[in-house]
Symmetry: C2
Subunit: 335 residues, 2 copies
């Protein structure tokens, strides 16, 4: 009997699922909205249903799964499968891994969503073949994943890789995390939009207000791309500024971590890679030592939305095969 792995990717707005064969090939996939506002149990239910839809699409029964993996927003404990906290998803010490194990009747391994994406790119995407890789995903926030000697790095905190919360401009704009001048506060879509809003408040003109009125916080990465292409001066300057800071962050990380490949993904990069990547590379080169940057590739991700599900599935497959114990809920049910 051929056996399969299910990969799941839990985001703030959508859930992706995919069935992967032994070679890492996607056999079928499914997606649904997260509807986070309905609460943790509802989200869990939707994850299970999305996974089942992917199984059906591949014509596979749940008992043909030997493992599943899920990438989730954190902080989380990848060993116990518990999501420590996720304000947006209403998770509060939620045993996501164990609960999903019950539902699917197989071990379910948990990791950070961005770690899963990085690992997907590392195993079959843009960072394939590297021994040391750094993933940076620029969307509403900025997340990262670190691969060292071919393995995901979790660190003592179990939540290493938070490259968006590296301070690059001390005393700079306030970040959602409470600190000032984090890379995320400067260069995520949130950081970009905040910068645009402040500029508009200061009387600087942008074509975005014509399209979006004063509700610039709802501007998507695609809308930023369009404004960039119609030569909106403020948008161009703001996007380049974000790219400069991303490059500064990457240059610092090249000095500190010494990755071979830096993979850039996420909504902002997907929309604006052609515009941002050259600026990012140049800015990184101004910070990184020449000998540390030598041979280093700073490239865009190649798997798009699939990185997360594929990465989660491969993580599950590898942990299962190396005998890592998936956490169980059974004995904890009474707690």
């Amino acid at each position: 009997m051929e056996r399969f792995v299910l990969g799941l990717d839990l985001g703030g707005t959508k859930i992706n699922a995919a069935v992967i064969d032994g070679a890492g090939k996607i056999l079928s996939s499914a997606r649904d909205k997260t509807e986070a506002e309905l609460g943790a149990e509802s989200v869990l239910d939707r994850i299970v249903k999305t996974g089942e839809k992917a199984l059906q699409g591949a014509g596979i029964r749940a008992d043909q799964l030997y493992a599943a993996g899920i990438g989730s927003p954190g902080p989380l404990d990848w060993q116990s499968g518990v999501i420590i906290e996720s304000a947006h998803l209403h998770f509060d010490n939620f045993p996501l891994g164990p609960r999903l194990s019950q539902s699917f009747g197989c071990p379910v391994f948990v990791d950070n969503d961005v770690n899963a994406g990085t690992y997907g790119e590392f195993k079959i995407g843009a960072a394939r073949g590297a021994d040391y890789a750094l993933g940076m995903f620029v969307g509403t926030g900025i997340g990262g994943g670190i691969v060292i000697h071919g393995k995901l790095h979790h660190g003592f905190s179990k939540n290493a890789g938070e490259v968006g919360h590296m301070v690059v401009l001390a005393g700079g704009p306030r970040c959602n995390c409470g600190a000032r001048g984090c890379l995320e506060a400067l260069a995520s879509r949130t950081g970009i939009v905040n910068h645009l809003r402040n500029a508009v408040k200061d009387g600087i003109k942008t074509s975005l207000t014509k399209h979006h009125g004063k509700r610039l916080e709802e501007v998507s990465s695609g809308a930023l791309k369009e404004a960039y292409q119609r030569e909106d001066k403020l948008v161009r300057k703001t996007i380049k500024r974000a790219a400069k800071y991303i490059g500064i962050g990457i240059g610092s990380l090249v000095n500190v971590l010494g990755p071979e490949v830096v993979v850039l993904g996420g909504g902002v990069i997907e929309a604006l890679a052609d515009e941002m990547l050259p600026v990012i590379q140049k800015s990184a080169a101004r910070v990184a030592f020449e000998y540390s940057l030598k041979g280093v590739r700073i490239v865009r991700a190649s798997l798009g939305d699939d990185a997360g599900v594929v990465g989660a599935a491969i993580i599950a497959k590898e942990r299962f095969e190396t005998g890592v114990q998936a956490p169980e809920v059974a004995s904890e049910a009474g707690r």
Copy 2:
């Protein structure tokens, strides 16, 4: 026949050597000036003589050494034992490891001086018992070392750990490396002194000018400590400022790397640990996520000047015992 390891620590101004027994205990040590201005061959000669002095002190013959280790300023190739470049030491692709192997008649393993110091603290000092450690040494510059899963992390560049060249204040003061706003430019002795000099230029008073005239660049960490203790306002403010930036850097590294212990050493910290450490810890806590900082110790180094020689010796011992090949010079002599 009992056998021993020789540890060497090559600095810009001095050379330390120590003979270590199987348990990592220092049996004897020696030191000399580097006299870097006399050129690479002269420095090599002094390293050998300092090592021999340590051997004599322990009553040991060179043939009782099974390996030696040396920590050197970089960038360097720890695998080939070649110092790629060190302007101050006049090293330019200098095969330090192989040349020392010839002199001592045993394998000589090379690593970055700060890596060696970090590893010493990790094995028998303030970071003992941790699985993930970060060393940060604040002196004329700022260097760092990273231990992941009990091993020194070198990365693809072979020179990872350059925590002093992480940008924490984009657009900030120019660093010796050419970039702007590196931690080293803000918080090393050089950064501190530059800040003091600029303040004095702006007419701010400090007791230091009474003691050192206008040559503030020669102010030692000890002199800074004295000025701090006599309540020199400018010095106090400047030291606290440096501590704040060090804390910001550490907070960022806690988010990115997830160390369990952060060990702080180097001349500035040795002189001013009591004054700086509380500020550093507080500043790090403002940047690091609470769940990532939980259980993390930010402490001062405990081995002082011995960290480098002990670390280099233990690195040599471990590489030798795990069968790592030390680079040889013989076949390359004709190149």
